[in-house]
């Protein structure tokens, strides 16, 4: 009999604790298969490293695969909000799916943390917050760097898809605002193209002092090499979607000396100590590479890391308004994110507000230079 007493007390304590805790349920929808899986898998990698509780509340995380397909993404999101009654939706990492999920989030009045810089019409993103940087914020950093180098004209070589078009428009708008360089030649290519010789010939003939290449991942190296092979001697800039080691893996010595804009989490070791994100970015890299091997750090894993920071700041505020699982909690959570003020993340600094769910401020973009196959932060 005596032996049972501690056990009974322990069990009672466990039940008491269980009753006090209404778990926070987070529904994560990511492209783990399909063409967007290069973006979804790193986010999921970090989701696996999430803490087990936030503000004393146990986290209950459900991960579903959207197969990079908007229909599947909507089905998953609907299942999560109706059956699992999630408090927070996270995802997706590909833009079309993230946009489709935003509809479900708005209907169910549930906060959505997007892992993609998705453009939504005004009023459609009331419940959706973006964790990746917008093109405009990144263009800002690029334009400042170009102005510093005295570049007045640039050429544009970008994808014939939404990413290329978005960058062209955002770059033009930011450049007009800041008095930055003029775009003098615009050429396009598609991801599966086998050659950019013709486009490179035309750009080299226009001979701007700099060229901006807008492409993503390993696809960013081919146009870059194409320009070099046609004898282009000016400066080449790349966007944040190219800020992965694939650029060096495929581009080799041809990408030497070019500039890439990126969030701080890709090369935190070299950031000046005054950079607000340095400490968090180092922490992210250390945690991620401990789990997935040296050199595995990337842009999207860091977005998974940043989601936790946002929640750790907003959840305690929202808990005052209601228990997890209630609409009061979900509404309070959205208001808390909107009012959390200047928040430092591993990927930069965000200030969300009622009218701005993009968040990132212009302190965010870091310019990296490729030197001997490594990133070198430009100051």
């Amino acid at each position: 009999m005596k032996a049972f007493r501690p056990l009974a007390i322990a069990l009672a304590a466990l039940f008491a604790a269980g009753a006090a805790q209404a778990d926070i349920t987070i529904g994560v929808v990511l492209p783990l298969t399909g063409p967007g899986n290069g973006l979804g898998i790193p986010v999921n990698n970090y989701v696996k490293l999430w803490p087990t509780s936030i503000a004393g509340e146990k986290l209950n995380v459900i991960v579903l695969d959207d197969a990079s397909d908007p229909t599947k993404g909507v089905q998953n999101a609907k299942k999560l909000v109706t059956e699992d009654k999630v408090d927070i939706l996270v995802g997706s990492a590909v833009t079309p799916v993230a946009i489709a999920m935003a509809g479900v989030a708005a209907e169910a009045q549930t906060v959505q943390l997007m892992m993609s810089p998705a453009n939504l019409p005004a009023g459609r993103d009331t419940w959706s917050f973006r964790l990746p940087q917008s093109n405009a914020v990144m263009a800002h950093a690029l334009i400042e760097h170009m102005k510093k180098k005295g570049i007045k004209q640039i050429g544009f070589l970008g994808y014939t898809d939404a990413y290329g078009e978005g960058w062209l428009n955002d770059f033009k708008a930011e450049s007009a605002k800041l008095g930055g360089p003029q775009i003098v030649a615009v050429e396009r290519f598609a991801r599966p193209d086998t050659s950019v010789t013709a486009q490179a010939l035309k750009l080299v003939a226009a001979n701007p002092p700099a060229i901006l290449v807008v492409a993503s991942g390993s696809g960013a190296a081919m146009p870059h090499k194409g320009l070099i092979e046609r004898g282009y001697k000016g400066t080449i800039y790349q966007t944040h979607a190219a800020a992965s080691r694939d650029l060096m893996r495929i581009g080799g010595k041809d990408v030497e000396g070019s500039f890439v804009v990126s969030g701080p989490a890709v090369a935190p070791e070299q950031l000046p100590d005054s950079h607000p994100s340095k400490k968090l970015a180092l922490d992210f890299v250390q945690k991620y590479e401990k789990a997935y091997g040296a050199g595995s750090r990337n842009q999207f894993g860091a977005h998974g890391y940043d989601a936790v920071i946002v929640l750790e700041k907003a959840v305690p505020v929202a808990l005052k308004a209601g228990k997890p699982g209630t609409q009061a909690f979900r509404t309070a959570l959205r208001d808390a994110i909107e009012n959390m003020g200047r928040t430092v993340l591993s990927q930069g600094v965000v200030t969300y507000s009622k009218d701005n769910h993009w968040g990132f401020t212009t302190e965010t973009g870091v310019i990296l230079k490729v030197v001997k196959g490594e990133w070198d932060v430009e100051n």
Partner: protein, 356 residues
């Protein structure tokens, strides 16, 4: 546009066109002999290019295979597909009441080459062979996939209509692309150049790689000519192309012909992949568009004429190159619009010559 730009564009177009020509020939070959419109042709291009890239550099960091050894995913794929084929054959054979000796012999025939390839890969994986040896090995890995694909997907339907075979082809293409994603991951690959030399010809610089592309294409075309004109197997294939039933009555195995044809197609696809790998970044799904341009070229030959298909391929390459120069945003539109007048012209010329 001056002469030097025109000549650079032409050279670039002809270089790409030479690769499309290989794919166009394979498409015509497969259609003539088996009546299959083989959409998966381009996938073998990606398989070839990426298999060589992984033999060169190992699997990329972060991919599933990175943690499971240095073998390219295609080696596992080949083994898996062969085992499935052997099992399917075994079940079919047992239903027909074949003796166990016959069954074992059949399974052995199916599995021999894949197992041999696997063993060589296991041995060669950790050692870095020279580039040419790895290239030959890549061809040895991808080529046997062709006959296995025919046996699993098409052989049970060999006498179905062209439309049914086309629908199966769409499925086969999606399966091959999806498996490519599983086995290679989403990131792109680029291969080292086979020959870094550059030759100055007036305003044009011909790279060693372009030279190799021309030589390989012309060699393969000549080899095909010799094969079809001078060898018994080649003549049997031609007989099958002209009249399947007649060929069968003459004792030619039409299923054997189909396997051989798809083997040739896979070989030509993989070879195109090896040739294009050093000039472009190849993703698991890059093959489709490259294969589609080969298909457009094959349409120029009405899916029947080899020389017309080859010329069509050069035309597509040059058109693509000049299209990129004048209106890069509309390049694909230009290339794929050209097919419409060609189809109209062919349809006026021949009318409906069959019931399908």
């Amino acid at each position: 546009m001056d002469f030097s730009i025109a000549s650079i564009l032409t050279l670039d177009g002809v270089t790409n066109g030479a690769i499309y020509a290989l794919l166009a020939l394979a498409t015509v070959l497969v259609f003539a002999i088996t009546r299959i419109i083989f959409i998966g042709q381009g996938d073998f291009v990606a398989y070839g290019a990426i298999t060589l890239a992984i033999l060169q550099n190992g699997n990329p960091v972060g991919s599933f295979w990175h943690r499971h050894g240095d073998l390219p995913g295609t080696v596992w794929l080949l083994l898996a597909v062969a085992v499935i084929a052997a099992v399917v054959d075994g079940v079919r054979g047992m239903r027909r009441g074949l003796g166990s000796g016959v069954l074992a012999k059949e399974a052995l025939l199916t599995l021999a080459v894949p197992v041999l390839v696997f063993a060589v890969a296991w041995f060669a994986g950790p050692r870095s062979w020279p580039l040419w040896a790895q290239s030959l090995f890549t061809l040895a890995v991808v080529t046997p996939l062709g006959p296995l694909v025919y046996r699993l997907a098409y052989e049970p339907l060999a006498d179905a209509s062209v439309l049914v075979l086309l629908i199966v082809s769409v499925g086969v293409h999606f399966a091959l692309t999806g498996l490519g994603l599983v086995f290679f991951g989403a990131e792109g690959f680029r291969n080292p150049s086979f020959w870094d030399e550059r030759f100055q010809l007036g305003p044009v610089t011909v790279s060693g790689q372009a030279f190799i592309i021309f030589v390989a294409t012309i060699t393969l075309m000549s080899a095909l000519f010799v094969f079809f004109e001078l060898t018994l197997r080649g003549k049997a294939l031609r007989a099958t192309a002209v009249n399947r039933l007649g060929a069968r009555l003459m004792g030619i195995s039409t299923s054997g012909a189909g396997r051989l044809t798809l083997g040739l197609a896979a070989f030509m696809g993989a070879l195109s992949g090896l040739l294009i790998g050093p000039t472009a970044t190849i993703f698991y799904d890059s093959g489709f568009l490259i294969g589609l341009k080969g298909f457009v070229a094959a349409i120029f030959g009405g899916l029947a004429s080899y020389p017309a298909a080859a010329l069509g391929a050069i035309f597509v390459g040059v058109l693509e190159s000049f299209g990129s120069f004048w209106a890069s945003a509309f390049k694909e539109v230009i290339v794929f619009t050209v097919i419409i007048p060609v189809l109209l012209w062919r349809s006026f010329l021949h009318g409906h010559d069959d019931e399908e």
